[in-house]
């Protein structure tokens, strides 16, 4: 069975550019993508993830709407390993530019700041995580880095 990557944004986040391009990039690289799109309600994330049982989840977050993001992560962790959830985007809110990345990382999920990574890097990261699911020691590679 081919491995499925679930993609989307949460809550009131309607930033669709990265979402559209990432879907195309993942698709072009041969990965099977299920794109929920943007502004996906918490209940939809949970119901689709429960039904599809994705191998990876990629969530974009650009507008600082962090409460629903936290909620979705918390619920997804109950049904899949936390490190197979990747969060990308601008994880700050407010004029002081405080980053929320450490809080999200503390939940055990991966964080990819999308200003700093190319689609190729995201795909490579996804491939490593998927390979790990098939017996590859991803953690060892990460630690070595």
């Amino acid at each position: 069975m081919s491995q499925v990557v679930l993609l989307g944004t949460v809550g009131s986040d309607v930033h669709s550019v990265a979402n559209t391009l990432l879907e195309k990039a993942l698709d072009d690289s041969g990965l099977k993508v299920h794109n929920l799109g943007v502004a996906v309600p918490e209940h939809e994330w949970l119901s689709v993830a429960t039904y599809l049982r994705p191998d990876l989840v990629l969530i974009g977050s650009m507008n600082g709407d962090l409460v629903p993001l936290h909620n979705v992560i918390r619920k997804l962790i109950e049904i899949m390993p936390a490190h197979r959830i990747l969060i990308g985007g601008k994880l700050n809110l407010g004029s002081e530019g405080i980053s929320n990345a450490p809080f999200i990382k503390a939940m055990g999920v991966g964080v990819l700041q999308n200003d700093e990574v190319s689609f190729q890097e995201i795909i490579s990261h996804c491939r490593l995580l998927l390979a790990e699911k098939n017996g590859f020691d991803f953690q060892r590679i990460q630690d070595a880095r």
């Binding site: 195309k24 990039a25 502004a39 996906v40």
Partner: protein, 438 residues
């Protein structure tokens, strides 16, 4: 339902436009009245002409309970937990005090598909500039909104603006997704939404365009709109009216390099000036670092003011008049052709708004809305202009698609373009601009 009160006199912003000056309008919304007032004070000190009231994304999508709770928490803790001002959560008397204390006209900027509640509240409070429209505030800002219901909500909103105690400036949001929006789409959205506003006589229509990164194309787009709209208004049987133009600084991704960011803002301001736009909507040089602070926002106003009043020759902006003229003619021809098709089907502007989306004509790149069929793809040409290609024949004329393809080279075959290349196209085209000036 909020009743329209005529007791509170609006600050008449319409008279400000009579001077012919390009007015400066920053953006910005804070979580509490106190913080909003602080922002306004900073912007006034910097020399802006209009004050922003940008609404938070929770209120925009009708999640009022969440917005209210975040607002209350912010008032207690002093920490802002929303990305804009929650107008529907603030007590009316307090919101009224805020708006009536404003020393300049206030402009509502919100991105709400079902806009009636927000607009009626804003009009009631004395807000005199209202941004948005049925398509420009739904296609880029929502996924599942029902376009028929959205249009009905905007009809009620237009009536509300018409009943305001003084003339309202009704600005569209032709910038749409702000990423590679082809001029042909921007012009048609502006034409249809201005006609919608004129149909309801809700105020002075103001079409809005955003910097695409191609100076000659931006000049051509505004020029083309100025020629197309009076023609369309006449074809619709609408009475002659003044139509204003707003020009938005670049709304795509900003570079972290502050010098380059400053160049983007200065170029945008210069273009607002030479296109005789009535208003320039500003950005800041720290845009890449996150939500701007009051200080950086005020600095954006200062920079804009300096360019508007200073020596523009210091700027490296070159506009190829021949290319701009050709572009204007092509855009006028294609837009009139497509608008004629809409007019052939119905004389009703609301129906035209729906038809334009269903036929795939209004199909902004990257728009999240389910109704957008996604057959038009936009890419940046070598000369920095934004060009459109289509997976489906018949949406735009064959001659126009061929014209656009002549700028695109191999990129006209969208399927062979990688996501990283499109990501590059989304950046401000500094290199192309230099090429253009050679």
């Amino acid at each position: 339902m909020v009743l329209i009160s005529k007791e509170f006199k609006m600050q008449d912003s319409s008279t400000r436009y009579a001077t012919g000056k390009t007015l400066i309008q920053p953006r910005g919304g804070r979580t509490t009245e106190f913080r909003q007032k602080m922002l306004w004070d900073a912007l006034i000190e910097a020399g802006c002409d209009l004050l922003p009231l940008t609404i938070d994304s929770k209120t925009r999508l009708g999640q009022i309970e969440f917005a209210s709770s975040a607002y209350e928490n912010s008032k207690i803790s002093g920490l802002e937990s929303l990305n804009g001002f929650p107008l529907l959560s603030v007590e009316i008397s307090s919101a009224r005090e805020l708006i009536s204390s404003a020393k300049l006209p206030v402009s509502l900027r919100h991105g709400t598909p079902y806009a009636y509640d927000l607009i009626s509240r804003a009009i009631d409070l004395g807000v005199s500039e209202i941004e948005g429209g049925p398509l420009s505030y739904s296609l880029p800002y929502s996924r599942d909104s029902d376009l028929v219901k959205v249009i009905n909500s905007w009809k009620e909103s237009e009536i509300c603006c018409r009943n305001a105690s003084e003339l309202v400036i009704r600005e569209t949001f032709g910038i749409l997704t702000a990423c590679l929006v082809p001029p042909v789409i921007a012009i048609m959205v502006n034409v249809l939404e201005c006609a919608f506003i004129d149909t309801f006589s809700s105020g002075i229509p103001m079409a809005s365009f955003g910097a695409t990164g191609s100076p000659y194309q931006d000049v051509a787009t505004i020029q083309a709109f100025r020629e197309i709209y009076p023609w369309f208004r006449e074809r619709m049987g609408l009475t002659e009216s003044t139509t204003l133009i707003a020009y938005h600084h670049w709304m795509g991704p900003f570079p972290k390099d502050r010098k380059l960011a400053e160049e983007i803002i200065s170029t945008g301001t210069y273009l607002a000036r030479i296109t005789k736009s009535n208003k320039v909507v500003t950005k800041t040089i720290d845009e890449a670092l996150g939500v701007p602070t009051d200080k950086t926002n005020a600095n954006g106003v200062r920079l804009t003011k300096a360019v508007l009043s200073g020596d523009h020759d210091a700027l490296n902006v070159f506009i190829d008049e021949g290319k701009s003229q050709e572009e204007t003619e092509v855009l006028i021809h294609e837009c009139k052709l497509q608008l004629e098709k809409l007019l052939d089907k119905t004389p009703n502007v609301s129906q035209m708004l729906l038809d334009s989306v269903q036929s795939g004509l209004i199909d902004p790149p990257f728009a999240p809305h389910r109704s957008c069929i996604g057959k038009l793809k936009a890419l940046r040409a070598i000369d920095g202009s934004v060009r459109v290609t289509s997976d489906q024949p018949g949406i735009l004329s064959e001659a126009f698609i061929k014209y656009e393809a002549s700028f695109l080279g191999r990129k006209k075959f969208w399927k062979y373009v990688s996501s990283d290349e499109v990501k590059l196209d989304l950046q401000y085209p500094f290199v192309s601009k230099n090429d253009e000036s050679k």
